[in-house]
Point group: C2
Chain length 132, copies 2
């Protein structure tokens, strides 16, 4: 119930790498894929996704690549996880606001409270804590 998806791990690895390359530098998917032994095709999709989320900017064509265009201190781990994995929550009713067992559920309220606790912690961790 706690494990990051590989997608998330790879995304963090990629961002970490790009950040270490210095401001405005280009990095290719191939480069990261080879350095960290990540499937090129899979990594490509992840980078495309990070582009859509405006964390990096893609440059097409030969001599192309990706450029980091975000201050990673401004993005919380919670935000990032939701970017990568979709809405988060300890239980379905937090994620979709729906559950047939809702009335009569005896654990709903305490679980929501714990969920909030975790959320608060993750919201206070910038992903730069990971990529630095």
């Amino acid at each position: 119930m706690l494990k990051l998806t590989k997608r998330t791990e790879y995304a963090l690895t990629a961002l970490s790498h790009m950040q270490s390359q210095g401001e405005g530098e280009l990095t290719t998917a191939r480069e990261i894929s080879e350095k960290y032994s990540i499937s090129f095709q899979l990594l490509s999709k992840i980078l495309q996704h990070l582009s859509k989320e405006n964390l990096i900017k893609p440059i097409q064509g030969a001599k192309g690549g990706y450029k980091l265009i975000t201050d990673l201190t401004e993005i919380s781990l919670w935000q990032f996880l939701e970017m990568m994995e979709g809405p988060l929550g300890l239980v379905d009713c937090i994620i979709t606001s729906e559950c047939q067992k809702m009335d009569g559920c005896v654990i709903l309220s305490p679980i929501h409270k714990i969920n909030k606790t975790v959320q608060n912690i993750f919201m206070n961790i910038p992903i730069s804590d990971i990529t630095n």
Copy 2:
């Protein structure tokens, strides 16, 4: 990356119910299954598992059932989750101590730190916070 398994939810629901029944009272799987609309067979396995973990004591035969034999204030959410779902960790290398990508991994150390943070929080939440 945060969702509890149904097994865990059902286990918590069952414990909550049993706790509300008062000390030394017997509860049957059927009873809980019907009250909370949980598959009887599935719930049975979960209760059997809780028995093996010595949280409840099974009494066989007619007029049998399960009896809560643990002080739930003494069991942390972390312990409980590991009971129900096995070893927890944000990444594989925390769970199995193994990963081919370990050397050269740039996110390992910061991820371990965050993992520790979450672990500490969960270790300080007794499951009685949920079942009460």
